[in-house]
Symmetry: C2
Subunit: 401 residues, 2 copies
């Protein structure tokens, strides 16, 4: 009998308890012993099927030698950090879906776990139930990872999908997402790209083996995105998606060897690329390795059962011999400003084609009807900004290629 604790009984925590009960037979067969939830840490007691397991006293978990793994689904940094640290100190494996904690304090907590010779696993922190961290680290181990990018936030992807399909304005699509429970009452972390930003930090940390400081990652969301751009892009054979991207940089693109960057921003994506067709609340993450090329991982990036699926699988990994805890260096040097990256840019301006050509030379015209929308040749973000200084810019987006 393997016994665990769950800290926090929100959406993911409840899912964890449910899966352990629903799939008890399968889990026990794979583990070689039954898995059972022994204690659940809550802030407030509520009636329900798990009432008898609940406590509001963390020391009941910290000091219980029977508890071998603790699932942290508290969220945020303060209490989650404190309890995680103490669980690890007490020699208990910890599993989490908490991307904020991993992005901000993961390096330190992983080092503590390594010292204690236990595991701190967080597959659920990126892409919900989609396997991405383990496959990237293990199945692609022979590769130099050159880039990771993806649709990392289901709420914003749902909103963008509504805008494309039904021509809804951002504000209306957001309200619909809230009505359906896909967006929270305060949607800031989602629509401003903060959630995606934390996830791209975790992906970048692991892909490149260096801490990426979330503070240095520019995060742009979709709240300023205009329906006009969505329509022009669509007609020209592109889809607009909010992407998190982390890239290895080197002499081949004019940077120091070993440097890297990361950012979150809406992009135009050619509709022929599979990631352009990832719709609704689905997520997809693309990893580019120097041997394997591009591989993509797709599925439900959030939700009770998918996210809990990843947590419970991580619990099983803690209890068996498979898997090895990932690690990265706390050294943040070598992080470059993503505005130094070169790519095609989409502009919509109040002005004429002549204005566009004056600023950018040759451009590909997408629309001239009322306003002017065009694609530039590949330029750096800094250069694009500078050239556009004298233009009356209505929108500016990167093009993924």
């Amino acid at each position: 009998m393997a016994e665990i604790a769950v800290m926090g009984l929100g959406t993911v925590g409840t899912g964890v308890v449910k899966i352990i009960s629903d799939n008890a037979g399968i889990i026990s067969k794979k583990l070689g012993e039954p898995l059972q939830v022994r204690t659940i840490l809550v802030r407030r007691f509520r009636d329900g099927p798990y009432r008898h397991l609940c406590t509001d006293d963390f020391s009941k978990i910290e000091n219980d030698p029977a508890i071998r793994v603790v699932v942290e689904t508290i969220g945020g940094v303060d209490a989650a950090y404190e309890y995680t640290r103490r669980c690890l100190e007490a020699g208990k494996h910890v599993v989490t879906a908490n991307k904020q904690l991993i992005a901000e304090r993961g390096c330190e907590l992983l080092e503590l776990a390594r010292k204690k010779n236990i595991k701190y696993l967080f597959e659920a922190s990126v892409g919900g139930g989609i396997p991405i961290l383990h496959p990237m680290l293990e199945c692609l181990a022979a590769n130099r990872i050159d880039e990771v990018y993806g649709i990392l936030n289901g709420t914003t992807n749902y909103i963008l999908t509504r805008m494309v399909r039904t021509g809804a304005f951002f504000s209306d699509a957001l309200r619909e997402a809230q009505r359906r429970g896909y967006a929270e009452a305060d949607p800031t972390a989602d629509v401003d790209g903060i959630d995606a930003g934390r996830k791209i930090c975790v992906l970048g940390d692991l892909a490149f083996g260096h801490q990426i400081d979330p503070e240095s990652v520019p995060m742009e969301g979709i709240s300023k995105l205009s329906l006009r751009d969505v329509k022009i892009a669509n007609r020209a054979g592109y889809r607009i998606k909010l992407l998190g991207r982390a890239l290895r940089l080197g002499p081949e693109n004019g940077f120091e060897s070993g440097s890297r960057t990361a950012y979150v921003a809406p992009h135009l994506i050619p509709e022929s690329m599979p990631i352009a067709n990832v719709e609704d609340v689905f997520n997809a993450i693309v990893v580019r390795g120097n041997a394997v090329g591009e591989v993509m991982f797709y599925g439900r990036g959030a939700g009770e059962m998918p996210t809990a699926s990843a947590c419970v699988s991580d619990v099983m990994e803690c209890l068996s011999s498979w898997g090895e805890a990932p690690l990265w260096s706390p050294d943040v040097s070598g992080f470059e400003n993503p505005l130094k990256l070169r790519c095609r840019h989409y502009f919509r301006i109040e002005g004429s084609l002549t204005d566009a050509a004056m600023a950018f030379g040759q451009v590909e015209v997408l629309s001239e009807d009322g306003e002017t929308a065009f694609l530039t040749e590949p330029v750096t973000g800094l250069d694009a900004k500078k050239r556009a200084e004298k233009l009356n810019v209505l929108s500016c987006l990167r093009v993924l290629s």
Copy 2:
């Protein structure tokens, strides 16, 4: 220093040696020691950069205690089986991309590896470089896997893509695939669904934990597929793809609990499903778990470097502590005839709509121009066959839903 041997120096074997050389720094950093190819088994000596490592004497590998891992890229069953068995007997880990050997003798070889407490890994046998076997077994460990299906053969997917995009006939598209090196001179194993069949056996073995006998898996390819059907399906919002499918069966669909089935056949897929948009030589595999829902893995399913990427990553897993060898039971009982599965069917017949309605009751008409094409309500394959007995059937395909 970790030393390995490579058996066979064809496409994949050459890729393995190349990656170990190209990515030496990365691999050594992750492993904690350098990785080096010590011996290469070949049938005929050829000049080249690896000439000094080559031998045609298997005992040089079998009896060399310095060799810790052997990569088998011989292919087929006879010599590959014999040498793999002897390497495992000699206590050496073995890594392979050989789907035929895994599908036919994997169960026995894995049992031998388990007894010897070493690893026999084969991530590269399905989906080339796409991580699929490890993620399914480890990251989705908390799930009951209910279904695995996918585009498992790049050659046939390339041919189908050409037929859709350019309206090419099957024979012309095949010739183009051969010209580009995507299809072999004898394309039988690809176009007749045999290659996909071996892969779906491996996926099914692992998903359900029971040996699937390749002999009992109906394999239908694309050689009889008509351009007419491709066009009708396309116009109606479907794509035709060759799918391998393995399904868990149970009382909920009228079968004994714990039974399963598998087959390979072309399917109509609604264009809104991401797998419908997997084009050219790309592969994609969908896994449906009872907690995670559907997740999809996408990338290059073949080729020198992608397949070698998976092999070398498996080698690294053998040499480190991560990962656990998969296992399944040799018991094949509970395998059901896939014709008992219920789904919508696409028919094209020489005859009228009245004939169609007489046989199938209500149908959805897709075309009446010259011939009659329609979709049935969900029926079993056996039932569809029986009802269509009196019709003059030009084509019959399953619809994925």
